[in-house]
Symmetry: C2
Subunit: 150 residues, 2 copies
DNA sequence: GCCGAGGTTTACGTTAACGTAAAGTGCTTG
DNA sequence: CAAGCACTTTACGTTAACGTAAACCTCGGC
């Protein structure tokens, strides 16, 4: 939770205006600062479904975006199962029946509520940090005047 | 991650203006919607240190606040170890030497950066949810006009 | 005096999310 | 063609954060 996750810069895109770039698992891993193992694990959990050229995996933009969203969800404390729940329904949307769609809306509302609570938590936590920090600074200052002023 | 955690209401406080209330482990557990096991575990991990009356634990306001902050930290994705790190230093502040204090400030800055990133994540995630939701509503609407209009 | 509700310790079980190691495949490069 | 590098599968290991079960006190009430 203390890593400086370099959230998926758009790749330099050497010349070609857009698209058609593909990635190996290693490239993608470096891009998001995760291990290949993690990416394979996410696939196994149904969060990714890359193309296969023979035995090796080939990732397109679509897959990269998926991974990006997945990692973002993770940072927000969603479990892989929760993320998959949304991803799957999103994929099944075209042929989605009404029941499924309503269920999806429910889930989304739930996630939204979650985000709201987190926002409030962040606000509160921010104040706590301010408080602890100011106390720490005070003590630190008093320590210094002590050793200086005597 | 989908539980409606009823964030520690101030207890009704029957008459007495403040303080001096104590809690059993069960009361505290109900208050925060966790199990006693969880609370004992947090103690074992050095996050709580309740008074002991003989064998049984007695919790004061201080302990309740600790627990509240701990749970808030958890919802924000901090590990118990990270939370303990701050809690311990906070306790040790009076006699804190300069090195410890500077270290504490570092940790706080780190947590702060974390919160910033989470805020950004929340903003982005919010848009994604909006997007998915509007698509879902569109499909749903088209389904209904379909079955109605024919 | 016993009973049930709540407290206690001890210890093994469980789940999620990967890590790690072994053993094999496939290209390309000196 | 051998070496090396990146990919692959399979499978067992690990860590955090509790759950669960057993076996025990202890206290107020009937």
């Amino acid at each position: 939770m203390s890593k400086r996750t370099a959230d998926a810069m758009e790749p330099p895109n050497g010349g070609l205006t857009r698209q058609r770039r593909t990635y190996t698992i290693g490239e993608l891993a470096r891009l998001f600062e995760v291990t290949p193992r993690t990416i394979r694990f996410y696939e196994q959990e149904g969060l990714l479904a890359p193309e296969r050229r023979g035995q090796t995996r080939i990732y397109h933009e679509k897959d990269r975006v998926r991974l990006k969203l997945t990692l973002r969800g993770k940072r927000l404390g969603f479990s892989l199962a929760e993320i998959r729940e949304v991803v799957e329904m999103y994929d099944a949307m075209p042929d989605g029946n009404a029941r499924q769609l309503k269920r999806l809306l429910e889930i989304l509302a739930d996630k939204r509520a979650n985000l709201e609570r987190q926002l409030e938590d962040i606000r509160l936590m921010h104040r706590e940090l301010d408080d602890v920090e100011s106390r720490a600074r005070d003590v630190l200052a008093s320590l210094e005047t002590e050793s200086t002023g005597s």
